[in-house]
């Protein structure tokens, strides 16, 4: 069990906190999805878990042991797979794996075994002798993942592992992550691809502005936010109708072509649709009841652009 309690981190005293009293519990052998818009605090959280930053407040424990002691006792048990292609383009695939195994203190038979297992896991045997700089985008992503496995870790931190790859490579990578977790390992997975997280993760947390907005089992998260009504219109709501609806529904939110009621009595739907038709506004989509992760995410992070 990975436990994060009251974690705080601020890059400069004058800037808003990157993490503000963050608390999470991640079960062993799970794939945990960490979601949030740019600047939400995901990378800071991953950096704290990987030991690249030290918490300024709060604590991270793994199996009851504070993170620094846990890492010191088993330095290879956690691995970070960064979003960048963090390897050496002039070295071959095999040389890269040998190097990253070597810097983790592995030599001789142990190094060769881990190297071969990582090669096989990412199905890179056919390109083992090719220079990493000559690989396609998908193969580079697979090598990036394979390097993370050279220390045979128990916990894998994956930061946007499928950015810029084709659907086949993405499918392969997701399957690989599933296989890794199925062997009893823990994965913490950050991504902007909601359908990926929804398909892969049993538990998720959505962060924004350094805080955890919601966390728990995927089904609970989507259900908890599912009571309202959402309409996707053909064009933005006319001003007069928008003003009238704002007066009638205090919790109504409008964002472009989207209209949302966090709580909604279904018997009013007919009247609303009639009002829209009278105003000449068409309805492209009606969402009621179960929401998908993207809807929950957009609702919680208030649809606004961050960059």
């Amino acid at each position: 069990m990975i436990r994060l309690a009251h974690l705080c981190y601020r890059y400069r005293p004058t800037t808003p906190p990157a993490l503000d009293d963050v608390g999470l519990e991640i079960g062993r052998g799970r794939i945990f999805g960490l979601l949030g818009p740019n600047g939400a605090g995901k990378t800071t959280l991953i950096s704290l878990l990987a030991g690249l930053l030290a918490p300024q407040g709060g604590e991270i424990t793994i199996a009851g042991t504070p993170l620094p002691q846990w890492r010191a006792a088993q330095p290879r048990a956690m691995a970070l797979v960064p979003q960048d292609h963090a390897f050496y383009p002039s070295l071959t695939v095999r040389e890269n794996l040998a190097f990253f195994a070597g810097v983790q203190g592995l030599a001789g038979h142990a190094r060769r075994r881990n190297q071969d297992e990582a090669l096989a896991f990412a199905q890179l045997e056919a390109v083992a002798g090719r220079r990493a700089g000559e690989l396609s985008g998908g193969l580079r992503r697979r090598l990036n993942l394979a390097i993370g496995l050279t220390g045979a870790p128990d916990i894998l931190l994956l930061d946007e592992p499928t950015v810029g790859v084709d659907p086949q490579s993405r499918h392969f990578l997701l399957e690989a992550v599933r296989r890794f977790a199925a062997a009893g390992h823990t994965v913490i997975y950050t991504s902007h691809y909601m359908e990926e997280v929804e398909a892969l993760c049993a538990e998720v947390a959505i962060m924004d502005h350094g805080k955890v907005l919601v966390a728990g089992a995927l089904a609970e998260v989507t259900r908890s936010a599912a009571a309202g009504l959402g309409l996707t219109l053909t064009r933005p709501l006319p001003e007069a109708l928008a003003a009238a609806w704002r007066e009638r529904f205090a919790t109504l939110t409008l964002a472009g072509n989207l209209v949302r009621w966090p709580e909604f009595a279904l018997d009013e739907l007919g009247a609303l649709l009639a009002e829209l038709a009278a105003a000449g506004v068409g309805v492209e989509r009606v969402d009621y009841g179960a929401a998908n992760l993207e809807q929950v995410f957009m609702r919680l992070t208030h649809h606004s652009l961050r960059d």
Binding site: L52, A77, Q83, S90, E95, A98, A107
Partner: protein, 409 residues
Amino acid sequence: MRFSGTSALIRLRALWMKELLALVRDRHGLAALFVMPAIFILVMSLALADAFSERQNTAIGYGVLDLDGSRSAQRLETQLATVDLIDEYGPLPDEATARARVAAGAMAFVVVIPPGFGAQLAANQTPHLRLLADPTIPLMVRNGFRQRVAAEATRLRLERVLERVGVSLMIPELRQIVERAGPPEIAVEPVGHDDGGQAIAPSAVQQNVPAWLIFSMFFVVIPLSAVFIGERERGTLQRLAAQRVSFGLVLAGKFVPFVLVNQVQAVVMVGVGRWVVPLCGGEALRLPDAAGALLALWLVSLAVSVAAVGWALLIASIARSSEQATVIGGVGNILMGAIGGIMVPKFVMPLAMQPWTQVSPMSWALDGFHQVMLRHGGIGDSLPACAALVCFGLAALAAAFVLNRRGNP
């Protein structure tokens, strides 16, 4: 499963192997590391050999504008022709032509012998010669030539005095004393640590190659920064940190391979000075024969490598981009070279500035090389310079470590 001492060696070996493999496969990096310094040394050796040698095919010449036409004026002209520093380009018809030739850079100097020069000498008056000079000619050369002209004029004046005294005393041979005597001969005897008259006069190559060798060795900052910053941009340094590879280990992983590469650079450059420069018509770089002196030479070059790579790692680790590293490292090296007597020899600097050369590690390195290559010193003589260079290199490494530790756990 904690990392042990053996594990640290395994990790270091992996870092060293990676660095060497990456270097060997980087063709542009290799060119920057070896070909450029080799060409640099070749060009500098060939360029400097003639300019500072005692008498070779220099392009500096002078003319004489004789406005007097006396016997004394002709004699001065004849005596100046024996100057072995620069060539004589012959007489000039008038001052306008003389000025035009100097202004065009066709000749460095014109000695103007004024009307009445012979009469002034005969009357034991101070003659008033003029020297038209090209402003691009170094001050040292100008002063040297001016003094030679003054010396020859003084000799002529002495001849005239003795001639008059000889006539008065009815001893005409007195006049010939100066004429026959000629200028005094001054033998230059280089004095090194190995006494017994074995020291050989150092050539311009011998004096200048160590300076440019040091300068080139310090330029390891450019390729090393490129490697380091590339790693930071690709996220490999972050990945290594996440794998609990300390920054100290990362520095050690680069330090040893780059010191090795820097040593190969030095060997290549010395090899060029020793074997390639003579093939191109220049003077060969002479190395000491004795094993002890060779060992001392290697120790100095090793100490220079330690200082150069330590400095390069400091720059590479604090620079945020290759552009920053190039500017900070490149300009820093040029400043060190300018202050340290690499670009302008220390003895040419004003007295007030000479002590400042000691703030530059390049000056310590130059002292070390001069001790061995010019003064023929041994290991003991080069140790102070070596110790200072090693301390500088280690201090730079420590600074790199401390500066990068800030903000990281």
